[in-house]
């Protein structure tokens, strides 16, 4: 008894108690928030598409994301990310990753449309999240204003994706990919799910109309004619400087050498 009262008066007793309380509450909360998932799984276990998705998940995804999509040290939890995130990550070939590099690259998709839909249905069955975007519902061609989209893009996107949506560097080898040739559906899904380093743009941050504007501007940028000649990658003055020092000065010095050799 005497020892216990000693420990109670120890200077680390209060911090240790707080830490223990925090851990208990935290674990209880995470267990509680995981509970609906279990229930959900049970209720939708009869659905074949979810079962099919679960089979694909167990084979192709669970080694990193965990058997119940709860995540691990190397991959995030997929509970609550929604069908839209799966459609974006798997549909653009980013998932499954080819290697454990800083960031998943866009590549040829591993799963076909049906398998992707099944995976999306399975992940959606774990917890509610954003739904797959129906391409016909965006209507960027009708609703999108290119000029407004440009302003929104420069305010919200250009700091990572570059002024002409050509992509840019982030820290430690991560990057914002180019948006050239990306389908409007995937741009929309990326905005609502915030894949990898990208922030989420909820409908209160950027309204569906704003998103349509941005997509309209990106589509226009994709078709932007090469006004003024070769575009040099639209990455700013670096390629311009490179061209001046190689082709420009190269030819000029070559001509100087030639003129000095010429008969007088």
């Amino acid at each position: 008894m005497k020892r216990l009262s000693h420990m109670r008066r120890h200077k680390f007793a209060a911090p240790a108690l707080i830490a223990a309380a925090l851990i208990t509450v935290g674990s209880a909360f995470s267990m509680a928030s995981a509970l609906p998932t279990v229930q959900h799984q049970q209720t939708s276990s009869g659905s074949t598409i979810v079962d099919e998705g679960k089979q694909i998940f167990l084979k192709g995804c669970s080694s990193c994301h965990g058997l119940n999509a709860e995540g691990s040290g190397i991959a995030p939890s997929l509970i609550g990310v929604g069908a839209a995130a799966v459609d974006f990550q798997v549909g653009t070939g980013r998932m499954p990753m080819a290697d454990m590099s800083q960031q998943a690259m866009r590549k040829r998709p591993i799963y076909d449309a049906q398998q992707t839909a099944a995976l999306a249905a399975y992940v959606a069955s774990l917890a509610p999240g954003p739904k797959v975007v129906d391409p016909t519902s965006i209507n960027w061609e009708r609703d999108g204003n290119v000029a407004d989209g440009g302003t929104l893009f420069r305010t919200n996107c250009a700091m990572c994706h570059n002024f002409a949506a050509q992509g840019g560097a982030l820290t430690n080898g991560k990057y914002a990919p180019t948006l050239m040739g990306v389908e409007p559906k995937y741009i929309y899904e990326a905005m609502i799910t915030g894949p990898q380093s990208m922030p989420k743009f909820s409908d209160t941050t950027l309204t569906p109309k704003d998103k349509a504007d941005i997509i309209a501007w990106i589509q226009a940028a994709d078709k932007e004619p090469a006004t003024g000649g070769a575009s040099l990658g639209r990455v700013g003055p670096v390629t311009e400087g490179l061209l001046v020092w190689t082709l420009g000065l190269g030819i000029l010095i070559g001509v100087a050498v030639w003129l000095a050799m010429k008969a007088r």
Partner: protein, 528 residues
Amino acid sequence: MKARERVAGNVAGYIDDRTGAAKWAKKNLTKVFPDHWSFMLGEIALYSFIILLLSGTFLTFWYNPSQNEVVYNGSYVPLQNLAMSESYASTLRISFDIRGGLLMRQIHHWAALIFMAAIVVHLLRVFFTGAFRKPREANWLIGIGLLTLGIVEGFLGYSLPDDLLSGTGIRIAEAIIQAIPVVGSYLAFFAFGGAFPGHSFIPRIYTVHVLLIPGIFLALITVHLMLVWYQKHTQYPGPGRTEKNVVGYPLMPVYMAKAGGFFFIVFGITAFLGATASINPIWLYGPYTPGQISAGSQPDWYMGWLDGLVRMFPPLETHAFGHTISWNILTPGVIIPGILFTGMALYPFIESWIMNDKAEHHLLDRPRNAPNRTALGAMSLSFMLVALLNGGNDIIATHFHLTINGIMWFTRIGLIVVPPIVFIITKRLCLSLQRADRDVVLHGVETGRLVMMPSGEFVEVHAPISEAKKFVLTQHAQPAALTVPASDLNGTDAPGGIKAKLRARLSKAHAEQVPAPTATEAKALDHH
């Protein structure tokens, strides 16, 4: 006499009667210039300047230097109905609605990049051949002035369109001004006429860009060329070329034709670039607003090293007496460039002091024959290149799948480690080349012809080089290092103290040479 000749004669006579120009023209049109391709690098800069004046004048007809807000209703659809400054709107108008406007804008910008690049290669030629030595120190200083003004002028031009990229550049320039201790914020308020961005900056820099700096340019270029004329052009060493003559061809007709032709070639190449390669597509950047920024915002290449230094410098700040000193901006933005440009300007005086060299030099050095100078130049160049590399770190990272942090650390360490290594390697290379020269003079060149001697021994025949070549390889003076006498005759310490010792030490490094073959050594080969 043909009618044409008679008319020309009458015109010339008319002018000569009134100005007495014939005597002047006769003397000056036959002025002799030495012939070498590397003497034409400065010409590229001169011709680019003329192109800049002409294309720039065209642009001023439509450009409107005003930060008043207007709503765009020109022909570029993706920006229609957007609010923007008049300067941006008028640059869009030049690009899309003025016939030939975009071509002129692109020629103007490409010519600016070529102008700066030509100044740099010209400067390197002058440095590595020792053309800055007495009596041309003043012209070296004018050249440094032109380089510095060129950087400022180029940056102002880049800033005028008031697009997102140029506004970002101005923002960084403002930050650098503010980083100057104590007076920084006052200077920034003075330059911008209030808080950033304000309405005054673009009209002000427009006047500076089109009037003040081009005026100073014209004056400095005139003096630069007059000094070349008056002091005569330097020449590479060769038979018959001395410190007292100039061997070459007359201005009229040889250089008139060559220089005239070269101008049109430079103009042609600039126009070709302007017509086929897009430069600074301001319509893609959009109008400037302080709340926006683009990934990959870079300055033009001649400021890239400065941007690279700012990007790599660690975030250091000190607070003292109510002032914040931002070392992270002040050091790379003000202190390092200040040291670099001051050192560059003072170099001719430093070298002449080290070697106590008061003689006139009209014969150029072959870079290998001044190993210390060549190594110093290569070292400085490598410093700039490492900094420039970091200026493009984001573009390099995305295009070569590297990490931007990795590039930054590579250049942070490289900025300190690479230049000394480059110095040592360059100096050794120069000395090796001198050794090779000595070998060629003393033993001739290898012929690849093997001869079997009566004893059965095989030897390769070496062919002696021509007398002219031998002269070029042996003509250079090799001044000895200065020495400090340990004590004077009375036994007291030598005057000068530490300064004299430092000078002797630098002079020893500077005078390190492989002995050039003497005339008797070279003669010995003939008896082989």
